[in-house]
Amino acid sequence: MDEGFLKEQQVMESDLNSETSHKSSVDFLMDWFRRRSIFVLAYGTGCGAIEMPPTFTSRYDAERLGIRGAATPRQADVIIVSGYCSYKTLRRIIRTYEQMANPKYILALGSCTVNGGMYWDSYNTIKRLEDYLPVDMYVNGCMPRPESILEGFMALQKEIGDGKISSWQKYEDNYAFYRKNQEAVLGQTVAPAYDADWYLYDGGL
């Protein structure tokens, strides 16, 4: 068992180029642009939303790093789940997440998304976000400081740039698993029926 967050440091510092060498140059370029430009969905799902304003406004100015807000899920790349999710919110988060265009990422803030946090015995919040949606990056804290959030974004950017993250792919591949978990807490009303087979759809113009 490591002392502290050594693992996190490893993730951030390790050289992953060896794994990505098979990427075509277009992929490489696209990943670079994706990394440089991150649109974050404007959805304050929980208390962590209170540290979003400092992060995105002049004090910490996330736009320096190419991170900016997007109003609708259609335009967003990243959804921040900022802390606990009540069932009612989870339903909206799932809906919103499914409306985002691939590739899309989830940044989870705070203790609550990991193991229930201080609402571990609350009857109305979920305990582990990863059961319901694929989480790309966790940020530690209750609530995380803006620096932590930026650090989370930078780690996410690095992963995107390396083309390593494909959580949306994971979600589509294991949709049955996620769907089962979602239905377990939300009932059959989790998402409208038309979404049930959207992941099978392949094609279009």
Binding site: F33, G66, A101
Partner: protein, 297 residues
């Protein structure tokens, strides 16, 4: 030959437009006491969206909406000459005139409105309605000013108008220029007239449903279109340009003014902005028109 000319115009407008948007974000950031993104940020955003793995479509009309909008923007660009004397960078302006440009400017938004409408998002349609409502309000003072300019130059040919200004129109007919500037701020979608995509009101407005490459196309056309509008304003009121340097600084000054205006004032409601536009700038424009026709000729 003309194809090459058009391609060069398009490429220039695309890159200059995006750099202007980068500057816009940077300068706005400075007004907001922050550092702001790199100057190429909008360009990165646009490429990223082109490279999104998927884009949600609501059928063929939805697909065509942004394309029509981009076509409208590019057509507008093609019919506005960059320089009043040069053969190159004059595009198709020999085949058209100012009336055509004024109408081409409306073509894209109307085409896109079809795409938005078919998307079925009520927020999008609200945004479009707001846009069309604002449109006629901002056109009134603008048209009066432009008509006066056309009458002064006795031509509806943009290059002729640009070239015929001994004193540039902004100084010769300041009232017309001021009226047109108000309209221009609205045309660029700047505060206080930024009602169309006001995020706290109508979500994302017309862009609510557009994702991936559609959104990117909209961003690109917006960059091109903004540049086209700037060039048009320079041609009509600032005496046109005779070289790239002149064109760039003139458009930039105009652009800076628009940014500053947008940073200072908050957003009007749609009826308020309509009311404002058809009162204040219109009265200014009519007075300017009377002055221009009484003394100009």
């Amino acid at each position: 030959m003309i194809i090459l000319d058009l391609a060069l115009m398009l490429i220039t407008a695309y890159f200059v437009g995006f750099i202007y948007y980068g500057l816009y974000r940077n300068i706005t950031a400075r007004f907001q006491r922050r550092i702001g993104p790199t100057i190429f940020q909008s360009f990165y955003d646009s490429i990223k969206f082109f490279g999104k793995k998927e884009a949600i479509s609501h059928g063929w009309m939805f697909y065509l909406g942004p394309i029509i909008m981009a076509t409208g923007a590019i057509m507008t660009l093609f019919f506005i000459p960059f320089f009043y004397q040069s053969e190159s960078f004059s595009g198709l302006s020999g085949y058209g005139n100012l009336f055509l440009v004024l109408y081409l400017m409306l073509l894209g938004p109307l085409g896109n409105a079809m795409g938005v409408g078919v998307g079925g998002n009520p927020f999008g349609v609200m945004g479009v309605t707001r846009g069309l409502t604002r449109l006629f309000a901002l056109e009134l003072p603008f048209y009066i000013a432009v008509v006066a300019i056309m009458s002064i130059s006795q031509s509806a040919d943009i290059a002729t108008i640009a070239g015929s200004q001994t004193t540039i129109n902004a100084f010769a007919h300041p009232l017309l220029f001021i009226a047109a500037l108000f309209s221009f701020v609205a045309m660029m979608g700047q505060s206080p007239f930024d009602v169309v995509g006001a995020p706290v009101e109508v979500y994302s407005g017309p862009a609510s449903e557009f994702s991936g490459k559609f959104l990117s196309l909209l961003m690109s056309q917006s960059a091109i279109f903004s540049f086209a509008k700037l060039v048009l304003m320079v041609n009509l009121f600032l005496g046109g340009a005779d070289g790239f340097f002149e064109l760039l600084w003139k458009t930039f000054v105009l652009f800076l003014f628009v940014i500053a205006f947008g940073a200072i004032y908050g957003r009007f409601k749609t009826p308020q902005s309509v009311d404002f536009l058809i009162k204040v700038p219109t009265v200014i424009a009519i007075v300017g028109l009377i002055f221009a026709t009484a003394w100009g000729n």
